[in-house]
């Protein structure tokens, strides 16, 4: 549905995006992840036909956005980072204008507009001026604008930025509901958002694609041994007993507090020891308070990937003051992660 092929974008001497390729299948939600200034917005702007790529091709529903821009744009709904509203128009007037330039036939306009307002719960604001709306409502008007012409592809640049927690949940629900009929790319730097809404993730950093996979696989790929967190009530020292269990590589106490012991048990790679662990705790007569797997969160994956990238490949990339490159040093090599 969406295809980006070897896209490069240079602004003068600065390379914003370098040789990025990815595909999105029909009905999929793709999370576009990267630190600020990584090239997310640039890639989206190329996909929406706002600016041409220096090299490479971008296709929407089989139409090249540069060669057949009108056809591609007709099938795309785009929400830029700041919703493109005219402050002097009311919400309804604004949507009427957008409906006209999106080429919706006159007879369908009223229906489509009320439909879109319904979808983003905007009805009570229909006759307010866009300039007087709160950030949350502006975002919703922006979203309504993308849905008006019922496009096959939705490209959303940080759709939840600046919303309150309630609105964020509503917006996410809306996006998830849209996924069936629409193909969606959404960019964000909020990581839980990606694991909650997206089926696939593309991580870019410094204009390069550093990873592309499902959120589960990404976290899984980086996780070697599994660590299990255990909280038990006992006055004994549980470490010797736990260490002797089959499948356990290492056990250590992380916190001891008046008969309540918290420990971390590391398993051999690929073994699920949770069941045995629980039985062992009960058999020893300890009180089992908590047992859970410590997952490497997407956040850690993200940090891991973006940090390594900047350390390993900075010399190739022209200076760009706007970019914030995370500089903490991690020892693992990126190549292990990406080309595993």
């Amino acid at each position: 549905m969406i295809e980006v092929k070897n896209v490069t974008k240079r602004y003068g001497r600065v390379t914003a995006v370098q040789d990025i390729s990815f595909k999105v299948k029909r009905g999929e939600i793709l999370g576009f992840l990267g630190p600020n200034g990584a090239g997310k917005t640039t890639t989206m702007r190329i996909l929406t036909g706002y600016m041409p790529a220096t090299k490479g091709r971008a296709m929407i529903a089989g139409f090249d956005v540069f060669e057949q821009p009108i056809e591609a744009k007709r099938r795309t709904g785009y929400l830029p980072e700041t919703p493109p509203l005219y402050p002097e128009m009311t919400v309804r007037e604004y949507l009427q204008f957008v409906a006209r330039i999106k080429g919706i036939p006159r007879s369908e306009r009223t229906g489509r507009i009320s439909g879109a307002m319904e979808q983003v719960r905007l009805n009570e604001m229909a006759d307010r001026h866009c300039g007087k709306l709160s950030k949350g409502y502006r975002q919703r008007v922006g979203l309504a604008q993308t849905l008006l012409h019922d496009p096959e592809v939705l490209i959303l640049d940080e759709p939840t930025a600046g919303l309150d927690p309630n609105q964020i949940i509503q917006t996410r629900e809306l996006i998830t509901n849209l996924a069936g009929d629409h193909t969606i790319i959404l960019s964000t730097h909020i990581l839980p958002e990606v694991s909650q809404t997206c089926q696939r993730v593309v991580i870019i950093n410094n204009g390069r694609l550093v990873a592309e996979d499902t959120p589960e696989n990404l976290t899984h790929r980086l996780r070697g041994a599994e660590i299990i967190y255990l909280k038990i009530a006992t006055h004994d020292d549980p470490v010797p007993a736990l260490s002797r269990m089959p499948g356990v590589q290492r056990a250590s106490v992380s916190k001891r507090n008046e008969g309540i012991i918290e420990c971390e048990v590391e398993s051999m790679t690929g073994e699920d020891i949770r069941r045995n662990l629980a039985q062992a705790v009960i058999a020893a007569g300890w009180g089992l308070l908590e047992l859970r797997q410590l997952r490497m969160s997407l956040e850690e994956v993200f940090l891991h990937l973006t940090t390594n990238e900047s350390n390993a490949e900075t010399p190739d990339i022209p200076e760009d003051e706007e970019r914030e490159i995370p500089t903490s040093n991690t020892k693992e090599s990126l190549d292990e992660v990406v080309h595993e």
Partner: protein, 256 residues
Amino acid sequence: MSNIFAIADKELRSYFSSPTAYVIIGLFAALFGFFYTAILDFFVKQSMQLQQFQMGPSSVNINLQLIRPVLSNASVVALFVLPMITMRTYAEEKRSGTIELLLTSPITNLEIILGKFFGALGLYSLMLLVTTPYIIILFIYGEPELSPILVGYLGLLLMGGSFISIGLLISSFTKNQIVAGMITFATLLLLWVLNWLSSFGGPTTQAVVSYLSITQHFDDFAIGVLDTKHVIYYLSFITFGLFLTAKSVDSERWRG
């Protein structure tokens, strides 16, 4: 076509949803009225003198001696006012980010530009329309000829169109309305006084410079002469201005 109309409609609405349109139209009418009254007063005195002393031409020409200077003055006022109409066209869209909506919608660059052009031209036409009562008064109390007046207004419209095309071009260069307005104003003023330079050069330079001067071409319209030379000058000026605007918007997209 309907897209051009949609953009033009939006532009016009936005002028009227702020005080801009009302202030511009109101003050233009007031200034027009001032020039009209002053010239009319002079004209009336002159014709009375002629009647008393019975010298020179026995009758005065209302078209030449009243309407021509009034329209010439109106053209100068338009030169001051039009930069204020065009300065926001692109600058404001770029500043607020709404240009992203326009450029990612299924409409062409040319449609956007023409829409903006006709939007501004629409407001300018309304400005000119407001001055018609002054002319109607002349028809009630005098016997002016209609066709030279229509030609004069056509001239004002064409000249205004040229001003607008320059204004659009300059507005597409910047995000700052004031900068766009000021540069447009300076450019228009320079194009107006360009023929002053002609005295420095030889005959060829003189001809070229006075041909370029945008207001020079208006003189014939003001006296009611419809010369295709001038019509073509203004139309090609407008086309060229809009063409450059298209190139400017496009190059902005490439540069990012």
